[in-house]
Symmetry: C2
Subunit: 681 residues, 2 copies
């Protein structure tokens, strides 16, 4: 491979290896492939499809009706315990819901509001009495509900919400109250129209003490859909997407609810007003409650990945048929243009990496929430992983859908070809269930914590060894996230044996090393903060915030790369393995190219090898080109999932018709002649 | 300045310099500030405003009615010759139209279809008989029209369209015909509903010879809005944005039009069918006709810039009021976060660069189309400049609006806050009036041509000197685009005197040098193509296409940088000049950071200096922070232009109310106490 830079591209190399589409489809669909296939079969029914251009009011009613359809198909309560009608399949439940993004993202998210947030709050934060009373009704849509956490004034900082729930021991009730406009609950699905109740997060106050944010079950509308006394609200109106969901605002004017409407798994109030909790630390209690709702982020990671995949299926299928500009040997197929390859194929590689990383995330989620491995540590790992992957995949969805839309030109802008609708709907994924920047900061803080931990209680000599040695990587990445030590440790030798220095193990070393160095760098700069006052320390942190977030992004990229590589190792078919290795290389080298300056500045790549990265990516794109349809076919989408006319043969039919017309015209001898060249002046 | 890397940020430095908002406003509004202000005054009338969430059908009718309003305000025909009711102000006309983007991009683009494309084709491609017959009616909306160039099968490659216009000397008519589905005219504004006529581009065939693409005036609908015999079409339906415009398709079944409906400025057919043209070369004739319609691209560059500015006004105003997370000294204002600064301020700097570059483009447009400097060379320069700037600014609009939307969180996703709507509408700007990638390739080819020209007719010794010497820059950038020679020539000395090496002149050298090296590099690699067959040569080109497009992008970035720098030199107020210089540095260093690896790999920056680029940008962001409201205030937007509640004080009012509530509560002594810390385990 040392010759890649100097040897011109060998065009015969292409045909060597092909993937086995069904093998790859199995790998991509992952652990819960059966439930994914079941969901895809179900949504072949046009009743589930988004109607492009449908006005908001009708779209909202249609989406509500689709939730009833899900109930009829038994697709709403897979996560429920068996005694409440479910099958207690945590991973499978999320896998099934994600696939709804293909039908209509509004449907996916409205389901998520009803079952992933509202019912899930009852299940995860409530206890048996709550489950008995509300789970079935919520599961079967007799009780549509809103999840009332975010306020107009506080989104990312949930701990600072203003809504209060003050306990009145006289009547054994909580008084739910909104003290000012900024404390209105906002952006809540099901709040504008359909919600009959809400799980309301509020500051729990009893005996004059604020015990922090807890969740309460609050009825909000009567049988006729009218607000109950003391409850008010308004419609959020049209949004940038997801207009099948009735997002709205809620506020409460001293609304009284019985004491047992507190969802009391992690904190309870006795009739006399005494507070008790199984978790003594207020901070840990708060994060435990929020962590119980991590499934939203897990879901979005998968849905964003499969949404990107659909966009790429459409754009790449079209790019393999559409022709533009005659190169002297006929019109060129778009995907034969170097630029077009460069635009789409790296995005495809990233989508693959995400699909594999998501399945690992889903397994981790399943093992925690099924109880198979439910420890505080595994929960923290899950939250960190979900935060990092959700941030990257939701941003990637917007980037890739936009590139797909542009790659389809004017056709891409028509709603019928679906890409613009998907992009609009997925836009909000990057800020809901946690703003991506805030999520990455959370990951960054975890990395800083892990980094600090390795120094804790160590003797100076051990510390020096740690700081000097590459093996720090082993300790640094924390339990539960994949350990880097192994690969890093043996790279000293492999680096010499791979001439080009850009093979899998080299990619891993470069990516892993970068995470470690960036975290160490930020940690070093933040150390001075320990001796500062809060304002100064906060300034110092803010100056380093961007770098910390970039470190967290690098970490999540590494995890995706590792997941892709692990998936490769499970593939047995040689051709498939070869093609997927190229795709993995495209992903890995793409990450390295993106941060190329960093690798050079920090002495990880010589300028010569750095220059080879770009050339090698160009080569991989050209090599991948003839295989382009296979990897998108491996997503397993059927016509009822795609629905975009330009990816359903309409373009090919037009090309054929035009070619036939010109051929016939030429055969008749009636074709107009070309204008003669003007005489030279 | 050599200390920027090691010295912590000096927070007192901020307050030194402030901009004079009105001085900057004048500079940004540019040469036709008066007409821009007149247009902004006009669109304060709510009748011009987009109604968020309005269904497509009503939105289309509203936009049509707004065009009548423009006529009533005398805002439709500024570009017309005086004898047809205009004021023959070419630059001012485009400046005025661009401002409509603040009211509703659908209005801006529907105006563009009617007057910038349809009427403009009559004016630019037709002759007196056509002007007399149709200009006034088109100008005053008695004759709404479509501009029928693009076909479903051919967008970027207009030369290959399939529609034919065959001359019949028997009846002295042209027969307009659509031979197959791919040749349907597509994506045409005014085609689905409102157009009564169309300027149709078709292959002109007479006497059995195809003379290439020409433009014809074709009536399409009768007084009742019904298609005329032989004309058909369909609605493009809902789109990703711009749904106030009735885009649609048209096809023609042997539709006959009189001979004099050929817009015959650049090519005519005599009654007997003899073809004649003032331009002998078919290629040059084609590009001259297309070039006459360059105003669409010029307009989009300005509209995209002012649309970005509006998004940044909203997000930065909000970021200066919104608070989140308590740092121990109260909740932090978003723009105090390092990340938030990094997200928004570089985009602001780019928007400034674009505004200044656009005014230069508009001046060039005016000088060509007013006839003041209308040569083939100046037309080519104008087209190249328009192509490069339009590509960059329309992409920037999407990037910056998306970042603004995310920076406003959930509020940013609500239609009422306008960012999502702007982004959706501007989406198609990156592919219409020329796909951005195709436009940049056009710029790249021009650069290659200029590069080759300098070698033409030179003796070997001269060539060697050219290739070796920095002064190649002087010749290379071609007439009309700013010459680089001057600044490059004297940098040998200045580079030593500026310690940090990142000042204005250094930025210029780095940016200019990169363009030149990239073009030379691609040119060198393409040289082998001269000896190849068409298919092989085409493969070689495609392998280098991505690099050529990147070179073109670098060139356009350089032009924006130069325009910003030239604008700085015209500022007299010291504080303004200082702050704008920081902003220019932020723009220039941002470009250098984006391509940092290139500068290192190619020996233009040491790794040490390269590392300083990022630190210096961080420092500039922090330094710029306190001035953030000033530069967005300088856009000169008034409440009727902004309209987004979050940028109109609603957030500040909520913050104040909440603070007041907590202060009052504390004063009464009734505030709940904090939960006591749990006993240590």
């Amino acid at each position: 491979m040392a010759d890649t830079v100097v040897r011109p591209i060998d065009h015969t190399e292409h045909s060597d290896a092909r993937i086995d589409v069904s093998v790859v489809n199995d790998a991509l669909l992952g652990t819960w492939a059966d439930i994914r296939r079941e969901a895809r079969e179900m949504i072949k029914d046009p009743a589930f499809w988004r109607i492009e251009g449908q006005p908001m009011t009708e779209h909202r009613e249609r989406t509500l009706a689709q939730l009833d359809l899900l109930v009829q198909h038994g697709a709403s309560m897979r996560a429920y315990p068996k005694e409440y009608g479910g099958i207690a399949n945590q991973g499978g439940n999320l896998a099934g819901f994600q696939e709804l993004v293909l039908a209509d993202p509004s449907l996916q998210i409205k389901s998520g509001v009803q079952w992933g947030l509202f019912a899930s709050a009852i299940l995860q934060l409530g206890t048996k009495t709550h489950h008995d009373r509300w789970l079935r009704d919520a599961g079967e849509m007799r009780l549509p509900g809103a999840f009332a956490m975010t306020e107009t004034g506080h989104g990312s900082d949930v701990q600072a919400i203003g809504t209060t729930a003050t306990y009145d021991p006289q009547t054994e009730e909580f008084v739910i109250h909104t003290p000012f406009r900024g404390a209105w609950k906002d952006y809540l699905g099901n709040a504008a129209l359909h919600g009959r109740a809400a799980t309301v997060f509020a500051q729990l106050i009893t005996g004059g003490v604020n015990y922090g944010v807890h969740c309460f079950f609050v009825p909000i509308r009567d049988e006729n859909g009218e607000f109950l006394p003391g409850v008010g609200g308004e419609d959020d109106g049209p949004k940038g997407g997801l207009n099948g969901i009735d997002n709205g605002r809620l506020h409460f004017d001293n609304v009284r609810i019985p004491r047992d409407h507190l969802l009391n798994r992690y904190g309870d109030v006795a009739p006399d007003g005494t507070y008790s909790s199984p978790i003594a630390s207020p901070g840990r209690r708060f994060f435990t409650m929020l962590g119980a709702l991590v499934q939203g982020r897990v879901s979005l990671d998968g849905a964003a990945t499969w949404g990107s995949a659909l966009g790429l299926y459409i754009a790449i299928t079209y790019g393999n048929q559409r022709r533009q500009f005659d190169n002297g040997a006929g019109e060129t197929v778009l995907l034969d243009y170097g630029r077009h390859q460069r635009r789409l194929l790296p995005l495809l590689a990233t989508t693959y990496a995400q699909a594999f990383a998501h399945d690992e995330l889903l397994q981790k989620f399943d093992s925690v929430f099924s109880g198979a491995n439910d420890t505080e540590e595994s929960r923290q790992d899950l939250e960190t992983l979900a935060a990092g992957l959700k941030a990257l995949s939701t941003w990637h969805a917007l980037d890739s859908l936009q590139e797909c839309r542009e790659a389809c030109g004017g056709s891409g802008f028509l709603a019928e070809n679906r890409i613009v609708g998907l992009r609009s709907d997925l836009d909000v994924y990057v800020t809901f269930e946690g703003d991506n920047n805030v999520l990455l900061q959370l990951v960054g803080k975890r990395l800083l914590g892990d980094y600090a931990k390795q120094f804790k209680g160590k003797q100076p000599a051990e510390l020096a060894a740690l700081v000097a040695g590459q093996t720090a990587g082993r300790l640094f990445h924390g339990a539960g996230l994949r350990r880097l030590g192994q690969a890093v440790a043996d790279l000293g030798s492999t680096a010499r044996s791979v001439e080009l220095g850009l093979r899998g193990k080299d990619q891993h070393q470069l990516l892993a090393d970068r995470v470690q160095a960036m975290v160490a760098d930020v940690a070093g700069r933040l150390r001075a903060g320990a001796k500062m006052g809060p304002a100064e320390a906060s300034d110092l942190f803010n100056e380093n915030q961007n770098d910390l977030i970039e470190a967290a992004r690098a970490h999540a990229e590494l995890l995706q790369w590792e997941a892709f590589t692990d998936a490769l190792e499970r593939i047995e078919d040689a051709g498939t393995k070869q093609v997927l290795t190229w795709l993995r290389d495209l992903f890995g080298l793409g990450l390295i190219e993106k941060h190329l300056a960093w690798h050079i500045i920090n002495g990880r790549l010589s300028t010569q090898r750095a220059a080879a990265v770009t050339r090698y990516i160009d080569r991989l794109c050209a090599r991948r080109r003839p295989h382009a349809p296979d990897p998108v076919d491996a997503f397993g989408y059927e016509p009822e999932h795609v629905r975009a006319p330009i990816a359903a043969g309409a373009e090919q039919a037009r090309q054929d018709e035009a070619a036939q017309y010109y051929a016939t015209l030429a055969a008749t001898g009636k074709a107009p002649k070309k204008e003669p060249k003007p005489p030279k002046r």
